[in-house]
């Protein structure tokens, strides 16, 4: 028998109980596609795993009260084919579609993608532009709500404590004319970590053919994905045209330069991001 303790709560209530005995070496096991690899490589000293993959309510995807609610342990293969998400949160469906391989998508979870804190996490830019929030539960059974954007940009204190666990991610439903898209560039066409990822969302004014309330998020260029507020200002109120797409691409290139000055990958990424910009608008057509 190995020394590592593994607990497999079957409800959120039981999860809270296990969080109560967690230490700073305890880890939450959800999909395992990052955690188990880190453990295999000896990169992680852990005393206890709390496996949430058996908690049915954390796997559910629901639409109610003006929100899409995705359980933290919902897997990407479910997310990318879920009818609510495909219809109302296209960029998240697209991002989920590009994660790993078929096997990885059947195991990897949305909560894990956020909590693992990879700069290249695919779901994250999509969640940021969608204005997603998440509920985090602690060992007292109390929950705190925080936007995904704030969670990643905030201080170390806003990150998960060792006795906390993300339980769901909520996406506010958007209006009929809201469109969104996601693009990813990796070293391979599929089964690849992102070297760049990009999400765009806006309300399309059908009459004027203009962009309204745009949200742009860029990932894999910096410690964590972030919103490109300056580029949002550039897009606001503009007519959707080839010229606008070029403007978008050029601005993104400058944003990449600002984000990773001196990085060896800068020449590649500041050019490649333009391809992502064109991809994203292609998907919106």
């Amino acid at each position: 028998m190995s020394e590592l303790k593994v607990y497999r709560p079957s409800s959120v209530e039981e999860l809270v109980g296990k969080l109560g005995i967690a230490t700073d070496k305890t880890r939450i096991l959800s999909g395992g596609t990052d955690l188990i690899i880190a453990m295999n490589k000896g990169k992680m000293v852990t005393d206890m795993l709390i496996d949430i993959s058996g908690i049915k309510e954390l796997k559910a995807i629901k639409k109610e009260n003006g929100l899409i609610e995705i359980g933290a342990a919902a897997v990407f293969s479910e997310i990318c084919s879920n009818e609510f998400i495909v219809k109302e949160a296209q960029c998240l469906a697209e991002a989920s579609f590009t994660v790993g391989s078929t096997q990885i998508r059947n195991m990897a979870t949305l909560g894990g993608n956020i909590a693992n804190l990879s700069a290249a996490a695919d779901a994250v830019p999509a969640l940021i532009v969608l204005g997603a929030t998440m509920d985090i539960i602690d060992s007292n059974g109390e929950t705190r709500e925080i936007s995904v954007e704030k969670y990643l940009q905030g201080s170390k204190e806003s990150l998960l404590g060792y006795d906390e666990c993300i339980i769901n991610i909520k996406i506010p439903l958007s209006s009929e004319n809201t469109v969104s898209a996601f693009a990813k560039i990796g070293s391979r066409n599929t089964v690849t970590i992102a070297r760049l990822n990009l999400a765009l969302k806006f309300n399309y004014n059908v009459e004027k053919k203009t962009v309204e309330k745009p949200a742009v998020a860029l990932g894999a260029v910096g410690k964590t994905a972030f919103r490109a507020i300056d580029i949002e200002r550039v897009l606001e109120g503009q007519v959707v045209s080839d010229e606008l797409v070029e403007l978008f691409a050029d601005n993104l290139s400058k944003e990449v330069e600002r984000a990773i000055p001196g990085r060896y990958s800068l020449p590649y990424k500041k050019a490649a991001i333009k391809g992502a910009a064109y991809d994203v608008f292609d998907k919106l057509r």
Binding site: R8, G32, I36, I37, T102, Q103
Partner: protein, 155 residues
């Protein structure tokens, strides 16, 4: 930890080391050597098995994660009537050379056909995108899967 699960059509109720990797549990504890470890990182697909109808990488799972679930390994693919249609097609189409990727390829393609009995070539490619083969160049594997899907159709 005591768990119950269904494996290759048989119900189990046993004590397991929950922290053991699933692939090690299958190979060492249950003697099912058909599932192979290639990379241990979930990249090569040779460890692919089917859990609740979905292809997953057993090198990235813990034994306890099959609790109350239905598992199929390569040993469970052939039925009482003999080889599965996929296995026959793989043999007939020359899709097996060294055989190391074959278990995983069969599991991924079985999972595909269970969900989508008439896949397009793109859908086949996507289903096996997480399974690497160093020998065949993939063409014959894709042909075999196509062939299995078409042959099942006619029956």
């Amino acid at each position: 930890m005591d768990i119950q699960f269904r494996l290759n059509g048989k119900d189990y109720d046993m004590s397991i080391d929950p922290a053991k990797k699933l692939i090690d549990f299958l190979r060492d504890d249950l003697g099912l050597l058909g599932t192979k470890e290639g990379c241990g990182e979930g990249e090569c697909g040779s460890c692919t098995i089917i859990v609740d109808g979905k292809a997953v990488s057993s090198c990235l799972m813990l034994a306890c994660q099959i609790e109350d679930r239905e598992v199929m390994t390569i040993e469970g693919l052939a039925g009482d009537a003999g080889l599965d249609r996929l296995q026959k097609s793989f043999i007939e189409k020359g899709a097996v050379q060294c055989g190391y990727c074959t278990s995983g390829m069969l599991m991924s393609s079985k999972a595909l056909l269970l969900e989508n009995p008439n896949p397009t070539e793109d859908e086949i490619n996507r289903a096996i995108e997480g399974n690497l083969c160093r020998c065949t160049g993939y063409n014959k594997i894709v042909d075999a899967i196509s062939d299995a899907a078409e042959t099942d159709d006619k029956q």
